[in-house]
Structure formats: structure tokens, C-alpha cells
Symmetry: C2
Subunit: 553 residues, 2 copies
């Protein structure tokens, strides 16, 4: 028997058209820092996206060509988000926090034909341009000193002038295969070259549907979503697409990601939900503690990208009534992999053990735990293994191997095609995933595994500790032992012995670190995660003043 | 550039596995009428679905074979919902309210190999069996007099015995193409032979995602959904699939669809949402008026299948605090086509004009209005045309034409493949769809269109009127004129002149009916809709005692 359903592809084009027609009055509000936010409707954004597509086509952008964006979160970036995939090209979001040489490597690897750059980011792009042979055109959006581009080989265009020069308010968007490439994002892994993940129209569409499900972010018309997560991080977690699909308005912070302007825009624009990494919420908490604002519009604050310290979640909730919901994902998972909503009917106290997990996977994400010997482990809440995932918005390869074809390194993909996440954790019988460590960050001590993240979370719960990172360092007797690097709060004076006693009440004695060091700040990666590789290197090169306490008998 | 995403099909199998593993503790509660509902977890349902698949395979069911279900809403039916598509066969839900000859026609047309039948429905099936050559096996679920099957050619099995005989708690579900047939449902249109719509795994999956979106039904774990809509109507609007996808529990009424048991199960099982046709809510309203119950658990009551009279919505809300949300769809649209949530920030009074519409389409449903001359009309809230829709869960053909292949009648599908819904209406600039009539029910009076539904809704808002149907009848001078058939409330004595004056305050004078008739009940189709064809026939054959008032000058 044959299905009699229509064969309609799932495309970014459909999301754009739906948002700009059915939800044409929904809005993108971009913070400008000058008290007059830039406001555009979805209908206007649709028209501007059509003009951008005409402009890009005029510059020679064709199907499958990559167009880079080096931009903050603003409405022009949303226009690029839709126009580029909808015209059949590939949106390549460039992470402006990468080291310049990494950025250049990525642009060359993706062979970006055009780069759209925010004016304030010209000083970052200009010195790289001589090394970017594929880039024939640079389009500058917003204010900035354009003289830094003088003499560059690429043709320079003004974004607004380019759009204004296109007479046609509509674009004949091509019919696309849903498996065609839509967007490209490179992982900012701390090892090896960056790896490109190419999202398809299908994956973006399905992911947007999931973001809008009531079990996930649940965006809907009439609400306003604040993606603090940069639009160069995994499509801003899919929120711009999900907003156009649902009709939810967007509040975009542009480059004003500091705690004070964030608090200000929340108070004045009243978003219903916000999404970002824990370090953003850590900063906002301190800001709100110092200068309370009305943040009552926020029904949920989603935290992802790194585990959110429970102490931060509790402080946010107790002091400001803001509920942080933890989510897990990665560049390779589009990123929505799981969200931590507790089961219903529990008291707030009973909810905590669920809320501090990574949560449960949606139906489109299959999960399994691979043990050290490659067998799959039971979901018993105890057996710890590497999380592997499968699904229509999960990467099955990386872009551009030696022969230009997608490649599948063995350490990243299982023989049957599942993504090896590199995260180690457990899953309970009712599906709650707890990730304790990156596989490479687990401390292998005398045949046992010590979770670095567990130690960090306990340390950060101590009132005198602002941040703490724990890494494995070589140990003659045990193979590896934990090194605890702590950042004390201003004015706090806490002895290492006190912190160790604090830990001793919370973890097994053999897990207690002997090696301790105070650091002014934990080194961070370009995306704000603890850079444990850097910490290990600092240790190896003798740069840290480590104190070794006697091992607890 | 090539996408690097995994190629994972969207299947009913994935929904089943997700629900029975990640949400294994969610429950299906089936009302039994004896005070002890049957409760099964999703995990148990998964095991039983595997056993059912083994059993069906043992009876010779293979890929693409149709398996009929003639069952009420209960947990065994949910098992069939999942086992049959997941094993690669096709679930064919049989509408037990059809006339026996129509039912037989459908079973033969679908070539059902096996029929699973509820014990209480044996008297309906047994007389048909001699005419159902394709049916080799009948599986009886639940209590009922099985002697009516004595001597029938098909082999008879007991559902529970069949499951118990399968030792294996797991089934190696095959890898399926997402475009493979999953389920089959025939339209119960009042003209011509029933037409089969074959849903694909892909369409069911995408539709379930949409049902779970916060903009639609928004099911989630911890909530309980009560599908009063029968499971033989368009997959119970996709709610069983959506429940397994989200983890929401199900409360199923079995055959207890009468107002009193419905009120009782709502009070005792406390569902968070319910879904059904307006006649169900009409009955429940009368029941609650007579015997109030605690229905406070219901956050939303979704009404679809026919326009919900605004008077009913208001009465429900004012007297019982229950908010009815109107949805539109049809067998050919899986069925979710649109839902009527008002824009945010309005007062309750301002919300009404939006809530009485059919609402807005989701991103996966494209809509357009075709005018009488085939041109497409603007979304201006005034231009009325036939609604045409396109999308991945919209039918593009019907099952089994003369040559056995899918067929596409011109009156049902446009040349470019869109579904012609047969519904006439308008769309506002902000996407709100208002359907006024079936194309065939519009009254064409002197070159103008009169909406029968508008007249009906006004009449039913009169306190003396229980039901009202308006149909076109031939008129020498005007071509067609409206005939108003009214059912008065018990004890009410209202003159036709009074009703006409009531209408005269609400519609244009030239639209006022001259022809009036009192009927004991409006004839209904097998799915509870007004059967206007029957009414027109009764008029044509002189069976109605029509009073003709003088035409208003």
C-alpha cells in the first residue's frame, strides 16, 4: 500500500515564509545601547531577506556556495539566517571569539564566497582578508571604521545600500531538496582542527519543531525570546528559526552581552524566556544581586553549553525568582539533545535531583551509553559510559575531509553511525541523563574514574569560591590524580584544608584532591567553557603555584 | 556542499520506542464503567505491542498489509496503533458509526487481512463477515458474545490469548522508509464512495511533533490527555502518537462517550486537556449544568470536526470555567490544520473575534483561498474563497483508484497538487482563517452567497433554540434560498417570526430565511455533523412541514 500524502520538503524557506506572512506582525527587537532599540517586524524581515538574496545573487552567490557571517545577534543577522539558506546557499556563521588564525582557517576550509560582517567587527576581519582567497565580497552591516578595508582585494559593499539597490520585494525562492545543506558551523573543540557540521534544511526544520514543543522551549506567538547565546553558536540553539515557525518575537542583544545591559533589556523589553551559557547567568546573578531589576517577565531561563552549577540555579531562584532549566547539546546535535524538566507532582525540594541532570531526550534523539569495552550499558542510573546519540538533527560526519567529501573520524562516530559525544554519564530507568565529564576530562585514578565536574560543583557550592576547575594531572602511583584550581570570591580567604574538608563531607575520601592552586580566573575557551587543556598545560609547564596537601589516609 | 546530518527516518516505531522507554511510567487509563479503570504503563504497552506484532506476523500479516481495527478508545487499540505500523503493516481504523454496507465496502476496498474487533462490537461485524473475503482472521478484544462468530469463515482469536502465546517481550522492528504507509482512514463524506487517506510514517511523525508544539495541543509529560474523539476518526487527531512522543498520559473513555460518564471520568481522573467534536461538548455542558462536577483539572478543551457554536463556548466558560479552543482539520489533513489561539494581550472580550475563527495554520500547513474563477484571493479578511492547503501531512491523493493506484479527483486536488478542502472562508492579514460553509452548502441567492453556518450560529444563540440547520433549497426567482430547520429546547415555544426578528438584528435583511420548519432533531452524519444532504432530500421529497413566511420587503 502506498502513502497518499503530499511530498512537501521541510525547508528553511517554509519557516521564513510562514513567519513573515502568518506572523508578519511579530517583531525582532535589537538592542542598540542608546535607548532606542531597532524594531523590525517579521514581515519587514521577510522583505529584507528577499532583497538580501537578490543582492547576494548579484554578487555571484549560487546554490551550495558558503556565505560567512561575522556578526552579533541582531536583525540583519536574522535576515542572513533566512535569505542564505532559502536561496540555496549555505549560511556559515563565524565565531568571532576564535583566534584569528582559526577564523581564517575556517573561512578557507568552507570556501566562503562572501562575508557579511558587523561594522564593529571589521578590526577582526580586516587583517585576515589578505589570507582569504575565496572571499570575493565583503558586506558591512552597521557602524564601524571601514577605512581598515582600504586596499583589500575583496569588493566592499554596504549592507543597507546593497538591500536598497534591489527593487524587488519578493524573491522566487527555489524549490529545495530538504536534505540540501542549509547552514555550516564549526566546532570550537580544544583539540585538532575545527570540524564543520553542515545542517540540512530538514534538520533545521525538525529541530525548530522540537524547540517549539511544550516539552522543550515551547515558544509561541505573543511571547518574546531572548537568545543571549550568540547566533554564531549552533544557530543560536535554533531559536531564530523556532521564532519564525511559532510567531514568538525575538529580543536580540547585539554586542551588549554584559550583565548590566542584559538586566536593562530584560527589565525594559520583558522577554518571556532567555537562553544562554552558565557564565552569562553567573554574571547576571551578580548584577541583579548588586542592582535588582524587574525580571518577572521571564518564565524560564534555559542554560546550556556547559553544566550549570546547582548553586547558581538555587541562588537565581531564591534571590530573584528566576527558574533555570538545564539543557544539553553540542554543535553536532543542532544542538537540542535533552532538557531537564522534572517529573510532575514533586515538591521543589524533590525536583532538584532531576533539575541538575541534563534531562531527557526528545523522541527524535536516541541515546545509548557505551562502556569502556564498547558494550552498551543499562539505564540504571549507575552505569557510566560515553553517551552516543542518533537522530535526524544529529551529525553523522564532518564537512570537507582530505578529498573534500564528508569524513567520519572513528573517535567521533561509531561503526553504525551514531555520534560519540565524548561525554560520560549515566541514564536513570526513567530516562534522566546525567553527564559528569568529558571523556577526556575524567580522572583515571587507580582503575577508578573520578568525575572532575562533580568535584567542581561541590567546590563552587562553597560560599568562598567563585569558580573552580578540576583537571587530571599525572601521578606516579595512581596514574592520574585531581588538581583543584579555585578562584576565591573577592575578599574571601579560605584555606585549602577547609575546602578539602568541605569536599570530604560530599564525596568519597579517595577522590579528594591533594593538589590545589589558587588562580585569578579559570582559563576559558572561545565559547566560555573551562579550558581544561590550558590548565593542564599550565600545570605541566610549571606555571601554577601548586600546594600539595598530605593525602588523606 | 553536502549536509553532514545523519539520515534517520521519521517513523511510528521511533515514537513507540521513545514512549515505552523514556516515558515508560506514563500511563494509559481506560474507563471501564465499573469503577475500576484499566491502567497500563507505556512500558507495558510497548511490550504488549511487541507481542501483538509477533501474533500478527504469525497470522501472516506482512509489509504493506492492512489490518483493520473496529474498536473504541482503549489501551488495546493503542497497542494496535503502534504495533501494526511499526511492523510495516498498515493500521486501518474502521468507523463503527458507518452504515454496515459502507463498512463492508471499506474493508473490501482496503483488503484488510485481519480485523481486530472490540467484543461489544461483534454484533456489528459478524453479519458483514461473509462479505469480507480478504479477512482471514478476526481477533476479539474484550468481553462480548462470541457465538455470533460461530461458523464464520475467518479464524477467530482471542486478543489476550494471542498476546499471551507470544513468548518474546521484544520485536525486531524493521527499518522502515519514512514514506511507507502507516495508517489508513476513510473519509465519511456524504457524497460518493468513501475515500481512503493513507498516512505515511513521516506524516504521522511530523503531525505528532506539531500536536506537541506549544502553539497547538502542547502535550507534555506529567499531563493527561483525554481524547473523546474516537480513535477511528483521523487517528484520534494524532493524540495517541503525540502522547507517546511527549510522555503525556492518556485517559481513554472506551465506549463511555455519554455525558454522565465523561463528567465522571474528568472529575475522578483529572485530565489536563480533552479533545472532541462540538456535539460532545454540547452534551457535557447540559450534564454539568444539571449535575456540576469538579472539572478544574482541564486547562483546555479542544473542539474540532465541526464549527463550535460561540454560544456553546461562552456557556462553557461562563458557567463552568472551561475554555474551549477551536481547531480545524479533516481526514485529509491528519487532521491538524489550524488552531484558534487569540493574539496575546487582549481582554477576554477582545479575544472572542479570534477565538470563534478556525485560527492560524502552523508552518507545515500552507493555505490559500481560491476564488470562484480560480484566482487566489488576498488575505484581507473579506475575500471569500475555497481553502486549499499544502503540507507534509496533507493528502495529495486517495487510496486505490480503478487501477489500484492512488487517484486524484480534480474536485479534490488542484493541478499543482494542493488539497481542495471544500471549505469556503476568509483569511485576515494576520492569518486568522474563518470558514463559513462547505462549498456545497453555501446558499447561492441571486448572485450573492449566503453563509448557512452564520445563520445557524445566530439561531443557536437564541435561548429557545437547541439546534438549527440551514440549507439551500431551490427557488424560482433567486436560484436558491435558505431553509431554516430548528430544534426547540424542551418546553420552549418560539414563533418563527420571533426567530426571524432575532436574525434580522444580526444579518443583512436579504439573507433572512422565508422557509422554516421545526424538526425533532437535525439529521446527523456518522461522525455527528449536520447531514445537510439528508435535510435537503427530506425537503425535496416533501417530508418536512415547511412554513413560508412572507419575504421581508
Amino acid at each position: 500500500m502506498q502513502s497518499t500524502m503530499q511530498d512537501v520538503p521541510l525547508t528553511v524557506t517554509r519557516i521564513l515564509e510562514h513567519g513573515s506572512v502568518v506572523h508578519g506582525q511579530s517583531r525582532i527587537t535589537t538592542w542598540t545601547g542608546d535607548g532606542a532599540p531597532l524594531r523590525r517586524t517579521f514581515a519587514e524581515t521577510g522583505t529584507r531577506a528577499a532583497r538580501l538574496a537578490h543582492g547576494l545573487r548579484g554578487l555571484g552567490v549560487g546554490p551550495g556556495d558558503a556565505v560567512g557571517t561575522l556578526m552579533w545577534n541582531n536583525s540583519a543577522h536574522v535576515e542572513a539566517y533566512f535569505a542564505i539558506p532559502a536561496m540555496g546557499a549555505v549560511l556559515h556563521t563565524l565565531n568571532l571569539r576564535l583566534a584569528p588564525e582559526q577564523l581564517a582557517w575556517i573561512v578557507r576550509h568552507a570556501a566562503d564566497r562572501v562575508v557579511i560582517v558587523g561594522g564593529s567587527l571589521l578590526p577582526l576581519l580586516a587583517p585576515l582578508l589578505p589570507h582569504l582567497d575565496s572571499v570575493g565580497h565583503v558586506i558591512v552591516s552597521g557602524a564601524g571604521d571601514r577605512s581598515v578595508l582600504d586596499g583589500c582585494r575583496a569588493q566592499v559593499h554596504d549592507y543597507e545600500e546593497l538591500l536598497a539597490a534591489q527593487p524587488d520585494r519578493r524573491y522566487e525562492w527555489p524549490e529545495l531538496d530538504e536534505r540540501a545543506a542549509a547552514a555550516l558551523c564549526y566546532t570550537s573543540g580544544t583539540t585538532g582542527d575545527p570540524k564543520g557540521v553542515v545542517y540540512s534544511h530538514r534538520s533545521v526544520y525538525l529541530h525548530s519543531m522540537e524547540v517549539n514543543s511544550a516539552s522543550s522551549f515551547g515558544l509561541k506567538a505573543g511571547e518574546t525570546c531572548l537568545p543571549v547565546v550568540p547566533m554564531f553558536h549552533v544557530n543560536a540553539w535554533g531559536l531564530p528559526h523556532a521564532a519564525f515557525m511559532s510567531g514568538a518575537s525575538l529580543l536580540l542583544p547585539d554586542r551588549f552581552l554584559q550583565p548590566a545591559p542584559l538586566a536593562e533589556m530584560i527589565e525594559s523589553e520583558r522577554p518571556s524566556m532567555a537562553a544562554g551559557v552558565p557564565t552569562i547567568w553567573q554574571g547576571l546573578l551578580a548584577e541583579l544581586d548588586a542592582r535588582p531589576r524587574d525580571t518577572s517577565s521571564l518564565k524560564a531561563v534555559v542554560s546550556g553549553g556547559a553544566p550549570c552549577p546547582p548553586s547558581l540555579m538555587k541562588a537565581f531562584e531564591e534571590r530573584h525568582g528566576l527558574r533555570i532549566v538545564q539543557a544539553w547539546g553540542m554543535t553536532e546535535t543542532s544542538p537540542l539533545g535533552s532538557m531537564a524538566y522534572p517529573p510532575p507532582g514533586l515538591t521543589p525540594e524533590e525536583e532538584w535531583p532531576y533539575r541538575v541532570t541534563q534531562g531527557r531526550v526528545p523522541a527524535s534523539v536516541e541515546a545509548r551509553l557505551a562502556g569502556p569495552d564498547g558494550t552498551f550499558l543499562p539505564w540504571d542510573g549507575r552505569s557510566a559510559g560515553e553517551l552516543e546519540v542518533r537522530g535526524p538533527w544529529i551529525a553523522g560526519a564532518y564537512h570537507g575531509g582530505a578529498d573534500g567529501e564528508p569524513f567520519r573520524p572513528d573517535d567521533k562516530f561509531s561503526p553504525d553511525g551514531w555520534l560519540r559525544t565524548g561525554d560520560v554519564g549515566t541514564i536513570t530507568p526513567d530516562g534522566y541523563l546525567t553527564l559528569t565529564d568529558r571523556a577526556k576530562d575524567v580522572i583515571k585514578s587507580g582503575g577508578e574514574w573520578i568525575s572532575s565536574v562533580e568535584l567542581e560543583n561541590h567546590l563552587m557550592a562553597h560560599p568562598g569560591v567563585a569558580e573552580a576547575a578540576v583537571v587530571a594531572v599525572p601521578d606516579e602511583k595512581w596514574g592520574e590524580r585531581p588538581l583543584a584550581a579555585v578562584v576565591l570570591r573577592d575578599g574571601a580567604a579560605v584555606e585549602y584544608e577547609v575546602l578539602r574538608s568541605f569536599l570530604a563531607d560530599r564525596v568519597a575520601r579517595w577522590q579528594l584532591p591533594e593538589r590545589w592552586v589558587r588562580v585569578p580566573a579559570v582559563p576559558k575557551t572561545s565559547v566560555g567553557k573551562f579550558d581544561k587543556k590550558a590548565l593542564r598545560r599550565q600545570y605541566a609547564e610549571g606555571e601554577l603555584e601548586v600546594v600539595v596537601l598530605p593525602r588523606v589516609p
